[in-house]
């Protein structure tokens, strides 16, 4: 049995699962850069992200969404990769701010990376320097749309193209002292 919504056909089981995933996003905020300061207003009374089912998660094991909130120093990239690989499928990444898209105002810095999606797959980019909570919430809504349509499969792509990602990652992380698989 299939269900058609917005011209997308899905088996009913998958439809229900995606519906649940969409309405219950546990967020692990990796507070790099300046954008971390936008998380508290998004989560608390003023903008109240919990009405969308968005909720903070304490550890990568419990999280569905990884938030990268700004520029990533080359040192923190290693931690981000570990965190990302410890999360359980299906998992999504939202990247904040111009810094994660093309380096932003740190485009020529010696110790930040420029484009985040060369290192881990990104589902939704929110641009701005820095994005306001409204923009953050609209980014989450965009992610919810992707999940509902069953298109949020970037984590699978990561596993399929692992070699390419590893190559890029190892260019930045010179002292790669961690297992090649973290999950």
């Amino acid at each position: 049995m299939t269900i058609t919504e917005n011209n997308i056909k899905q088996p009913i089981g998958e439809y229900i699962q995606n519906w649940a995933r969409k309405h219950s996003l546990f967020v692990l905020a990796y507070g790099t850069g300046c954008g971390a300061i936008e998380i508290p207003p998004t989560m608390t009374s003023r903008y109240d992200a919990e009405r969308f089912g968005i909720r903070g998660a304490a550890t990568p094991r419990q999280a569905d969404v990884l938030l990268i909130t700004g520029y990533l120093a080359t040192k923190s990239l290693k931690r981000v990769i570990r965190v990302y690989e410890q999360m359980q499928d299906p998992k999504y990444v939202i990247a904040f701010g111009s810094c994660t898209i093309n380096g932003g105002m740190y485009y020529d810095s010696y110790n930040t990376i420029n484009a985040l999606d060369r290192y881990i797959p990104v589902d939704v980019y929110i641009n701005g320097c820095m994005p306001r909570p409204e923009a953050v919430i609209s980014g989450f809504v965009e992610l919810q749309k992707q999940i509902a349509s069953g298109n949020a499969y970037n984590a699978t792509k990561y596993k399929e193209n692992l070699e390419w990602y590893r190559e890029n990652q190892k260019k930045i992380i010179k002292n790669w002292r961690m297992p090649d698989y973290n999950w």
């Binding site: 229900i16 699962q17 649940a20 995933r21 309405h23 219950s24 608390t44 009374s45 109240d48 919990e50 009405r51 089912g53 909720r55 903070g56 304490a58 550890t59 990568p60 094991r61 419990q62 999280a63 569905d64 410890q86 999360m87 359980q88 499928d89 299906p90 999950w183």
Partner: protein, 314 residues
Amino acid sequence: MEDLAIKILGAVLTTIMAFTVGMFYGGFVRKLTARVQNRRGPVVYQNFIDLLKLQSKTTNIAHGFMHHMAPIWMIIASLTTLMFLPILNGNLWFPNISFHGDLIFLLYMMVFGSLGMALGAGQTGNPNSAIGVTRGLSQMVGFEIPFVMSLIALMIQYKTTSIQDIMIAQNESGIWNMFSNPFAFLAALFAMFGMFRYSPFDIVGAPAELASGPVSEFGGKYLGTMMTANSIFSFFKLTLYVNLFMAGAGNINDVGIVATLIAIVILLIKTFALYMVPVFYGWVSPRYRTEQAIRYFWAWPSALGLIGIVWALI
């Protein structure tokens, strides 16, 4: 044969009821907390969505045997305790296997879930889990003392260890234990703050400090199973309290369908009112440190428990 069928049906009914009620209470608390903080908050069935999502996660990590066992252990412990509890007075529709002396038995069984959790969390090797487990067990040592004292007071008062008998005695005399032995009730109420782990006693999970403590390595289906177990267990705890101190619900002489439904509604009202006590207290409290929490339980609540025992003796 028919007897057995009714028993099995009753067990299934009890489980479904405990699960639904426990989950909804969790949702209500989230909604109410949001309203108190001037937010709109999630929908009241948000916990069910979370559970569905957790169960539809596709991968899980493995840390070893006890790590796999911990959620199963927890859910088994919750169900076992639930089965030994008389849900309603006049156990026709929920003919669980309560027996004389079940109070002592339940006292032992209630810590089983936490012990399973502790073993499972220990095997994950996460330092946060280890700290969380230590804190959890210390806190348990803290609140068990006033709790046991108040139960002993009840046992002395009614000269029985059967929950069913205590309920019947309360119904006959028409005075709830809450009023006939207020000290024991207060001691048990304070112990309840520790049992439900809302602030200020959320030292075990301690979000932002311990990264959810014992469960920090549990994700996906494991976390979902634990959530289910916790919901069932909180319904169990509330019903136990209502049975012991608020005369339970239902009438032993009238066990028709209508009477049973009314009894269930009464049970829900009583449990919800009781549940709000630790929740309200949590809204206005910051978090204690471990030693503060233990000192808290061993001071006034234990003293009240002692007075309760003396009260029951004279």
